[in-house]
């Protein structure tokens, strides 16, 4: 036995190896191998059957000169910004309210998160029904005030907004994360502010928000990263249409794969990963600049 406390150190090389092996094999097969795979095949022309041919950056060039693909990039950026700068402020607003423990706050916290455990397939069909031009819920509600009859998902002018709106309004996930950060703020800070006669608004802007800057930066970064990779709800609700109005990089990837253009599909995968990583690094460094609170929280 060596120093107390590290009783078991270094004595079970074999055991450690055996216990780590299964995770490392699966992680290698489903994370590391795919990373290498797409980096290499994105430089090849490959249909899956024929022999792959090295073509350099040809796939990337093709993609960036294809206006439907650049439309996909644009839409993913719109998704990212809507998630980071509409969804997170809404989630923060609700978290600030629930943190003051109004009646039913625990029930509401649970309920707001509920849509996050329901499958994208069910939610997509539900929202397709809501947006349905003839019998849908939204037009039904609008008809009560004398409007309605609009084909929300079928019109290129409203389709993207309609798909993004249903996703951005589900604030539950980030609301819970932000709420947890708020409840970690020591009560003594508020007690002192109360004695000084600070109003609720003053407490929010002078104490709560500065104290949770780190969590907010993390939430914005995460939400934007999810927006950059958005795929499923659009795939299920519109398939990228009408006329590519809602297309995303993920949908382009799926379509290329469906057409056996594996090289181009891999190139899209590589672009997705690169853009996502760049975005995460950029947002973090931009938002936490000169902000000691955020640095401390990291």
């Amino acid at each position: 036995m060596r120093r107390g406390g590290s009783t078991f150190s270094g004595r079970h090389r074999l055991g450690i190896g055996i216990f780590l092996a299964p995770v490392l094999i699966l992680y290698g097969a489903f994370f590391l191998y795919p990373l290498c795979f797409i980096s290499i095949t994105s430089l090849m022309e490959w249909t899956g059957i024929s022999k792959a041919q090295f073509v350099g950056l040809e796939n990337y060039k093709k993609l960036f000169s294809d206006s439907t693909f650049t439309m996909g990039i644009r839409n993913n950026f719109i998704w990212a910004f809507a998630s980071g700068f509409i969804q997170i402020p809404l989630a923060t607003l609700v978290a600030l309210i629930l943190a003051r423990k109004p009646p039913l706050w625990k029930f509401l916290r649970t309920l707001y998160f509920l849509p996050n455990v329901i499958s994208a397939v069910a939610l997509a069909m539900l929202w397709k029904a809501i947006y349905n031009p003839t019998y849908g819920l939204l037009n039904g509600l609008l008809a009560l005030v004398g409007m309605g009859g609009h084909n929300w998902l079928g019109d290129t002018a409203t389709a993207l907004t309609a798909v993004i709106a249903q996703s951005v309004l589900y604030i539950g996930y980030f609301m819970i994360i932000i709420l947890a950060a708020i409840s970690n703020i020591p009560d003594s800070l508020y007690e002192a502010a109360e004695i000084d006669g600070a109003s609720v608004l003053q407490q929010t802007f002078r104490i709560t928000l500065p104290m949770i800057t780190g969590t907010l930066v993390t939430s914005i970064t995460l939400a934007m990263a999810y927006g950059m990779r958005h795929f499923e709800a659009t795939f299920l609700m519109t398939g990228g249409g009408p006329a590519y109005a809602t297309t995303t990089m993920g949908i382009q990837l799926y379509n290329k794969m469906d057409a056996f253009r594996y090289g181009e599909a891999s190139a899209i995968g590589a672009i997705l990963i690169l853009l996502g990583t760049v975005l995460i690094v950029l947002i973090r460094s931009l938002l936490s600049k000169n902000d000691p609170m955020a640095e401390a929280a990291q």
């Binding site: 299964p22 489903f30 509920l114 849908g136």
Partner: protein, 282 residues
């Protein structure tokens, strides 16, 4: 001390704002689901004529139709098999690795932990091509076991994070006493750490289950026959059969989301504390 009128108006306005915000998001989260449930019990005529009224007679037959037409029972079993299989595989491998990462000292430990948890940053959809070719080469295409392996693996980063964090929080004293009593490496895992880590394992398992139950795109990519069709795929495919029978389609969707809602109702505290475990660290 009396507050001045301005302050009082401000307080009332604040209350109204708070109430409207909470109600709005309540409606966003609950109303569509409620509407779906009510619509699933109507006749198609009722749905089209008056989409917001309650049904005159509850049409449970819609659920019967859904069960029959979409062959839901077998889809349901496939999804149960895949979800439980994925959870078992995931918890087995991550509890072993988590045990070593949380309780042993060895070179490269931090590196392995960082590598494994960094997986959450990767957009899984970019792996569609490699997953497809890998599963085909392993001769697992169109087999449910492929989905078990893929879902169990995709959840490794999240589970490693949750399980390792939980195992770190178990006090070392018990293990040390057990070692003095002659407990082996394996016994420390099976007899001490594993039982004490139950809460962490349930949380990680719940996340994995919900993911596996709801997953759609990999199932679409990696299976083709009805013998290995999951519920999500089935719901998606069979909607074409319901083009005119919307209410039965809604009944089918209701059936597909009941397990998620039931699990969430039972374990929502676990799920919420699992989410916040990550948030505190930032």
């Amino acid at each position: 001390m009396k507050s001045n009128p301005n302050q009082r108006i401000g307080a009332i306005a604040g209350k109204i704002l708070v109430f409207s915000v909470l109600t709005f998001f309540f409606l966003i989260a609950a109303f569509p689901l409620l509407w779906l449930f009510i619509s699933s019990l109507k006749t198609n005529l009722e749905l089209q004529v008056s989409p917001f009224t309650l049904p005159k007679v509850l049409q449970w037959i819609n659920y019967e139709n859904a069960l029959k037409m979409a062959n839901l029972p077998s889809l349901f079993l496939h999804s149960i098999y895949v979800a439980f299989g994925a959870v078992l595989l995931n918890l087995l491998v991550t509890s072993m690795a988590g045990f070593v990462l949380a309780r042993e000292q060895f070179r490269g430990r931090e590196l392995i932990y960082t590598l494994l948890t960094a997986g959450v940053l990767v957009p899984i959809i970019s792996f569609m091509v490699p997953y497809f070719t890998l599963i085909t080469r392993l001769k697992l295409y169109d087999k449910l076991i492929a989905l078990i392996i893929v879902y169990g693996s995709i959840n490794i980063p999240v589970s490693i994070f949750l399980v390792t964090a939980f195992m770190r929080s178990i006090p070392k004293e018990m293990e040390e006493a057990a070692v003095i009593d002659g407990c082996s490496f394996l016994q420390r895992y099976t007899k001490i750490v594993l039982p004490l880590a139950q809460t962490g394992l349930v949380t990680a398992g719940t996340f994995c289950f919900i993911y596996a139950w709801n997953e759609f795109i990999m199932a679409l990519l990696l299976t083709s026959s009805s013998a290995s069709r999951t519920l999500q795929l089935g719901i998606r495919f069979f909607t074409s059969q319901f083009v005119t029978d919307y209410t039965s389609m809604y009944a089918a969707i209701m059936i597909s989301i009941i397990p998620s809602i039931a699990l969430y109702t039972m374990l929502h505290n676990r799920i919420i504390s699992g989410l916040t475990a990550g948030a505190v660290k930032g």
